[in-house]
Amino acid sequence: MAHVIEWIANIVIIIGLIFMALGVFGIFRFKDYFSRILITAKVDTVGFITIMLGLIIKHGFDFFSGKIILVLALYIITNPIATHAITRSAHISGYRIKKER
């Protein structure tokens, strides 16, 4: 049973790594800033959350998982604020795209 749980956790971590690699691949794929931040940074966040969930599954219910949950909660609260600050700064400073409605 312990082996089964460990294998499930490893598979979840590998899925998270694939998401993170896609995010890093996307950062060199797109040409302008807005499409980069829309796709790349957010897919990277999905990878982060998936890897942390895999670690929680691997360790079960103890203080180590509790600390990982703290890190995860902090990241989920702060990451959208940082992304929003960067995008708003770009928008206010006059970085524009063609279509707007």
């Binding site: 800033y33 966040t45 940082a82 960067i86 700064s89 770009a90």
Partner: protein, 86 residues
């Protein structure tokens, strides 16, 4: 070499690409995007180092790094948004 070490190596490799975007980015916002990507990789790497050496204090390091990266990004974004007048 076990599973955790392999994952740590892959994450370290990915973080190098984030730094390439910081050095290379055409606009300043691309550089900030690369920096936020790099800091998320550092958080994951710190947690994995904590697992490999079997100590929990590395997760505290990850927490502190998250706070510092957040404050840095917010302050630089604000600095650019107000054109130097913080």
């Amino acid at each position: 070499m076990d599973f955790d070490s392999i994952v740590l190596t892959i994450i370290a490799g990915l973080s190098v690409f984030g730094l390439v975007r910081v050095l290379d980015g055409p606009t300043v916002w691309d550089r900030m995007l690369g920096f936020s990507l790099f800091s998320s990789k550092v958080i994951v790497a710190a947690v994995f180092i904590g697992i490999i050496i079997n100590r929990t204090y590395m997760i505290d390091v990850a927490l502190i790094y998250g706070v510092l990266g957040f404050i840095g990004t917010i302050m630089i974004a604000r600095f650019i948004e107000r054109k130097g007048d913080v």
